[in-house]
Symmetry: C2
Subunit: 150 residues, 2 copies
């Protein structure tokens, strides 16, 4: 099948498939006479694996490591276990950070109901003050990813 069909069957964009190939996650497929990429079922499976991992928010490096496990069925899967554990730890930490952030935003939002001028606005004034609690501390690690890119 051509790249468009692979894209449809995996829910992955065409450009993204080419990107994964450049990144070494997908093997280079055969080409037609017209230099079109030609894929088989093994490519569908491998790309589904990758998208599956991406849906779990793994990095391409993590996926590379999992694919290496997968490609070595004689080896142990210990590496895969550890990777999932570490990833789970990241996700949990991220949730805790975001919940602290949510609490701070709720408190901030309660400071103004929009009826006053900007000079009197509790929100703008609170933001101008040096941060007080943990979530507002300059030392707190920045928490990225609230705004999905697309």
């Amino acid at each position: 099948m051509k790249i468009g069909e692979l894209a449809m069957r995996t829910g992955c964009r065409v450009v993204t498939i080419r990107y994964y190939e450049r990144e070494g996650l997908l093997p280079e497929p055969e080409r037609s006479e017209a230099n079109y990429r030609l894929y088989g079922e093994t490519h569908v499976e491998r790309l589904a694996f990758i998208r599956h991992c991406r849906a779990l928010d793994m990095t391409l490096d993590e996926i590379r490591a999992l694919l290496a496990c997968h490609d070595d069925p004689e080896g142990t899967c210990h590496r895969a276990d550890v990777l999932i554990d570490e990833h789970l730890t990241h996700v949990k930490a991220r949730i805790a950070q975001l919940q602290a952030l949510e609490d701070t935003l709720v408190a901030l939002r309660a400071r103004c109901q929009g009826q006053r001028s900007a000079a009197e606005c509790g929100i703008l004034n609170a933001l101008a003050q040096p941060p007080r609690d943990a979530a507002l501390n300059e030392d707190a690690e920045h928490v990225p990813g609230t705004h999905p890119r697309r």
Copy 2:
């Protein structure tokens, strides 16, 4: 004060301060004879405002909008209110996504205790299957940001 002192007082890196200036978030300061940037207290306050907003995971565009409110004390703060509300909605949605993700990862992790070969590993096999539940669905929006960049 010079840029290094501003950086120390705000917990912001020197290169990041210059970046904010290029992005138009910080006004261009005066320069010394040797072409060094020279800052005053207003810069400290403005940079603290920015870092405060960044700690709340706002984008630079959002911060630009808040600064515009802040710079127009005669105007209404309604725009600031709406912005915080929208941001809060983003954060809440992100928490829900990550919690679904966590559940899926916990279930995945339970499939293998590392004692078997990769070919028999429940984790690798599950990842090779087409996704079943919501968090693993190809249609699910990708959830970025678990891995803080630094």
